[in-house]
């Protein structure tokens, strides 16, 4: 067996330094090694988007990325959205209020994709919304509740960056907690949080 390789990542503000097999996908690492099972696996070939997480602020399909490729990165998963007292994030509240989920399996992916979109642009136009949501598959809702939820989330945020909802220090926020060393490995600079 190929030996483990040590990686350092920050996930939802918690620093980890662990060994992983090079072939381990990022989603398997998050789910099996870190126990963060809120991110779901729907297709394992990058189409459905259920496994979407943020890596250095970018929405990625964690089934198509290896854990070793995330070395030095800051990762946000659905577990990182809620507030310190267990408050739902406004994006989560919006999905709840607008019946934006049924079985809930694809939902973490939709939440993270929406989070990234509203970080980039707090007032996305229809084309942007369709472009982003068009990259995620839901089999239950027919997307109508999800579409309403995105509008609702835009209203709730009112221009606030998703990361700043619970005050500075939220995931991907300007004061995201540091990894063990402030400028972790990434020779390419990918280790910097809030790159956007």
């Amino acid at each position: 067996m190929i030996g483990d390789r040590r990686i350092r990542v920050s996930v939802n503000g918690t620093a980890y330094e662990v060994g992983v097999e090079p072939r381990t996908t990022l989603v398997d690492f998050l789910r099996a090694d870190l126990g963060l099972t809120g991110t779901h696996v729907g297709c394992e070939h990058g189409v459905c988007g259920a496994c979407t997480v943020l890596v250095d602020g970018l929405a990625v399909r964690s089934c198509l990325m290896l854990a070793v490729q995330a070395d030095g990165s800051e990762i946000t998963t659905v577990e990182g959205l809620e507030g310190p007292e267990g408050e739902l994030h406004p994006i989560q509240e919006a999905f709840l209020e607008e019946h934006g989920l049924q079985c809930g399996f694809c939902t973490p992916g939709f939440l993270m994709a929406t989070y990234e979109m509203l970080t980039d642009d707090p007032k996305p136009d229809e084309d942007e919304i369709m472009e982003v949501l068009g990259g995620q598959i839901c089999r239950c809702t027919g997307y109508q509740g999800i579409r309403r939820a995105v509008d609702c989330a835009i209203d709730k945020l009112g221009g606030t960056r998703p990361a700043d909802v619970f005050g500075a220090g939220g995931p991907e926020g300007p004061d995201a907690p540091d990894a063990p060393d402030a400028d972790p490995v990434g020779a390419d600079g990918a280790g910097e949080g809030s790159a956007r």
Binding site: E21, R23, T24, R31, A32, G35, L36, T37, G38, T39, H40, V41, G42, C43, E44, H45, V47, C48, A50, T77, V78, E79, L81, E82, L88, Q92, F95, L96, E97, H99, L101, Q102, C103, G104, F105, C106, T107, P108, L111, M130, L133, G134, G135, Q136, I137, C138, R139, C140, T141, G142, Y143, Q144, G145, I146, R147
Partner: protein, 816 residues
């Protein structure tokens, strides 16, 4: 004690219900939104192993030998199973029709690509998959049969030699004087249709964690299981175990739509566990496995159908000949999808006579299984195309022709020729609501103007009936037992007056835990947050079938209200004893028990429950002190099938009318849906938000079936749709917004008047979209008769206008 279940909301012992019928946000959602709900792949048990399955690369081949020795010797590999283990431990699986089951992994030969041949349990999934590569299987390829018509010919390769034929069943049903109807009809319209294989594709595939103890033979099955009790009974039958040795703990799961599958995966994981000393074995199906060899595929149908119409435009007869390609065996109960149209054969119309020539045929493809709607969606696509063909030929507006043939409101309960009874309906009102919402007249003007400009635009109006409340009696025709389907609930109060409801089904997406909370909260006038719903394992839960066949909302409402009634009666008896009066003088109203009009003779729920729990010495002699009650609901007055399959089976009949406008790009054949409006009537809407969500989901799946989704096989039986790049699930870009209107005609037979509505729109959407497409194509003189109506199929029709290029050459025979 007779339990009277309220049939209307105003019969609840609460003058101000706050939840039932209201737009209640779901109580399930906070946990789902934060990643807290435990799906099966989130389960990790001590010493758990991970399974991977080796699958057949051939559609039809004899297994000469299997060598697993190298795999077994690999570090981390704890167990390997093959067909030899299946022969030792399994009985031939149950199937429909009987005699078309098999064993898993395959014994002696494989009959479809993806059939399990061996499986490994190892300390990680990665290692288990590595080990599969070390298993050597020597196959002798056999000639496959992939086309059901070829399969019916003399001399065809046989999928199961022992049966001597590939025809699993061939039956001709005749209801009423159908020959006479056709002989005397002013017009007869005949057409062929092809509905290609589609399927459920929930975003979560199937998964399970099984423990089968080799000493006690107790089997514990966790999993993404739609019907836990049914799965448990099936496993007990397969392994010859007493049914109470199999305990199923269904996890919340990521959708099902009937197509979750699972029996084979459980059997493999269980055998691996037994070989590994009873250690838990997890098997999570991946998407490629799901698409090619899971519970994914349904409705592979070849239709020829005819509609008899009299001179006034009244439909007098409907005939359907169906060749249903079920794939390699009957284990997936795909056959019941072909039987279910008997529950609504003639749709919402007063067609007095009908015939059904049904052939179930085996081929070397994945065995087909259930999918949302379970068979009527293709059937209604066929019926509604014929109605449109008739309307066009007779020069009658398609909406008007439908109106002329609707079952009138005063005719309910109405027994259709194929035997089922519809409970209630207001079909014309639903039609009017849909047409008004769509702006039908304006749509037709828009169409005519665009058409005059040479554009391919069309408007479709389609209607269908959704049989609600699944019932086994409907499936006697394909050999299933004629029996009812129970759903139970236990409602209890604790010493503080908080309610807990124990049920036997897992969360699946339809908001049923919220519904249960709504019902209990309104019955006892509680805040919804003081009701908690708990799911129990099959060996502990009240009898439960769970979701399926548009049943659970109706069934669990009946069960919960029945339990509430029993509990209230019990508490009334207690209160009467304490107040030294008779139970009949005690009233439950607004959450308080007492003597009406006597303010000082009132007790709260907590006081009554507390007395029962803590002061049983004060209760009437012989009184059960538990403040809880259980009720098991089954549909009333169902009947077994007669020799023609006629049964009162599904309890409710919801109905809908969908209006769709499309434009087809003549250069590409691409269909754009430019307008979608509908009205539906599913009786009392217990939670309108959830009902609309079910409708939205059904529309999306219906659009998928009509335009995009198809499981494709090549001539050798190789599946060509093994990923989401090939099997196209609609995204938000393909699903239009829809306008919806609700008509409410309560069911006279159910709790609170609700009707089954979970499958809903998929009954109507494919028909409506195809009607619109064919309206657009009508000026060209061609017809789309095959689903999905892909750009290529439509482009061929358009570019070769008049030449049938969709695998069908049928045309109407008009006689006068």
């Amino acid at each position: 004690m007779t339990v009277e279940i309220p049939k209307r909301i105003d019969q609840l012992p609460n003058p101000e219900p706050r939840y039932i019928g209201k737009r209640v946000t779901r109580r399930e959602d906070a946990a789902l939104l934060t990643g807290r709900v435990e799906f099966i792949d989130d389960v990790a048990l001590p010493r758990m192993l991970h399974a991977a399955i080796l699958r057949s690369p051939f559609a039809h081949a004899r297994i000469r030998s299997i060598d697993t020795s190298e795999a077994e010797a690999m570090p981390g590999v704890e167990a390997v199973v093959t067909g030899a283990d299946a022969l030792r431990w399994q009985r031939v699986s149950g199937s429909s029709p009987d005699g078309w089951g098999g064993r898993c992994p395959a014994v002696e030969k494989v009959t479809f690509v993806g059939e399990p041949v061996a499986a490994v349990a190892a300390t990680s999934r990665y290692l288990a998959e590595d080990a599969l590569e070390r298993i050597e299987v020597d196959y002798e390829p056999l000639e496959p049969v992939v086309d059901p018509f070829a399969a019916m010919e003399e001399g065809s390769p046989l999928v199961m030699e022992a049966n001597g034929t590939n025809v699993m069943m061939h039956r001709v049903f005749t209801w009423g004087e159908v020959d006479e109807a056709f002989d005397t009809a002013a017009h007869v319209f005949t057409e062929r249709f092809r509905w290609n294989r589609v399927g459920a594709n929930p975003m979560e595939t199937f998964g399970t964690v099984c423990e089968w103890d080799p000493v006690t033979l107790e089997m514990t099955v966790r999993g993404a299981i739609q019907s836990a009790s049914f799965m448990g009974l099936g496993r007990a039958a397969t392994f010859g175990l007493p049914t109470n040795l199999v305990n199923v703990k269904a996890n919340a799961h990521g959708g099902s739509f009937g197509g979750k599958g699972g029996g084979r995966g459980i059997d493999i994981a269980a055998m691996l566990s037994r070989k590994a000393g009873g250690r838990p074995v997890k098997w999570i199906e991946d998407r490629v496995e799901y698409l090619t060899s899971g519970g994914s595929q349904a409705w592979d149908r070849h239709y020829e159908a005819a509609l008899a119409v009299d001179a006034d435009g009244r439909m007098t007869g409907f005939r359907v000949t169906l060749v249903d390609d079920l794939g390699a065996n009957g284990e997936g109960y795909g056959s019941i999808s072909a039987a279910k149209p008997l529950t609504a054969f003639t749709g919402p119309y007063t067609i007095p006579a009908a015939g059904y020539d049904l052939a179930l045929v085996a081929t070397n493809k994945l065995p087909s299984g259930p999918y949302r709607g379970m068979g009527p969606p293709p059937h209604f696509m066929v019926l509604e195309q014929l109605v449109d063909i008739a309307a066009r030929a007779l020069g009658v507006d398609p909406a008007e022709l439908r109106r002329r043939n609707f079952i009138p409101p005063e005719a309910f309960p109405y027994t259709i020729p194929s035997g089922n009874e519809y409970d209630s309906g207001s079909y014309e009102e639903v039609l009017d609501a849909a047409l008004a919402l769509a702006g039908y007249d304006d749509l037709l003007r828009w169409r005519d103007a665009a058409r005059a400009d040479g554009r391919l635009v069309g408007v479709g109006v389609a209607t269908a009936v959704e049989p609600g409340v699944f019932d086994w009696n409907a499936y006697a025709t394909v050999g299933l037992p004629q029996t009812g389907v129970p759903e139970g609930a236990t409602v209890s109060f604790d010493i503080r007056g908080c309610a807990t409801v124990r049920v036997g089904f897992a969360m699946e997406g339809q908001g049923q835990y919220t519904l249960v909370s709504q019902v209990v909260a309104d019955y006892f006038a509680l805040d919804i947050d003081s009701v908690r719903v708990i799911q129990l394992d099959t060996l502990a839960a009240p009898p439960s079938f769970g979701p399926g066949g548009s049943r659970l909302g109706v069934a669990i409402t009946g069960a919960v209200l029945g339990a509430c009634e029993r509990l209230a009666e019990k508490m009334r008896t207690v209160v009467a004893g304490l107040m030294q009066t008779t139970p009949e003088t005690i009233e439950l109203r607004g959450g308080r028990f007492g003597i009406p009009g006597v303010p000082e003779a009132q007790m709260s729920l907590a006081q009554v429950a507390g007395t029962m729990l803590a002061r049983s010495d004060l209760l009437p002699p012989g009184m059960d002190p538990l403040p809880e009650a259980t009720y098991v609901w089954t549909a009333p007055d169902r009947t077994p099938a007669d020799e023609m399959g006629r049964a009162k089976s599904y309890l409710t009949a919801a109905q809908a009318v969908h209006v769709v406008a499309v434009e087809i790009d003549p250069d590409t054949g691409q269909v754009e849906i430019v307008k979608y409006a509908l009205a539906d009537d599913c009786g009392t809407r217990l939670n309108p938000v959830v009902v609309e969500g079910q409708t939205d989901g059904g529309i999306a799946q219906g659009i998928g079936a009509a335009l995009y989704e198809q499981y494709v096989y090549d001539d050798e039986g190789q599946p060509l749709t093994a990923s989401f790049m090939d099997y196209l699930i609609p995204t938000i870009a393909e699903v239009p917004r829809s306008d919806k209107a609700a008509v409410v005609t309560p069911s006279p037979f159910t709790a609170l008047g609700a009707k089954g509505c979970g499958e809903g729109a998929i009954h109507t959407t494919p028909a409506a979209v195809m009607c619109a497409i064919n309206d657009a194509l009508a000026p060209l003189g061609v017809r789309a008769r095959e689903t999905p109506a892909t750009p290529e199929r439509l482009w061929r029709l358009i570019s070769g206008a008049g030449v049938g290029a969709s695998g069908s050459t049928g045309e109407e025979r008009e006689q006068s």
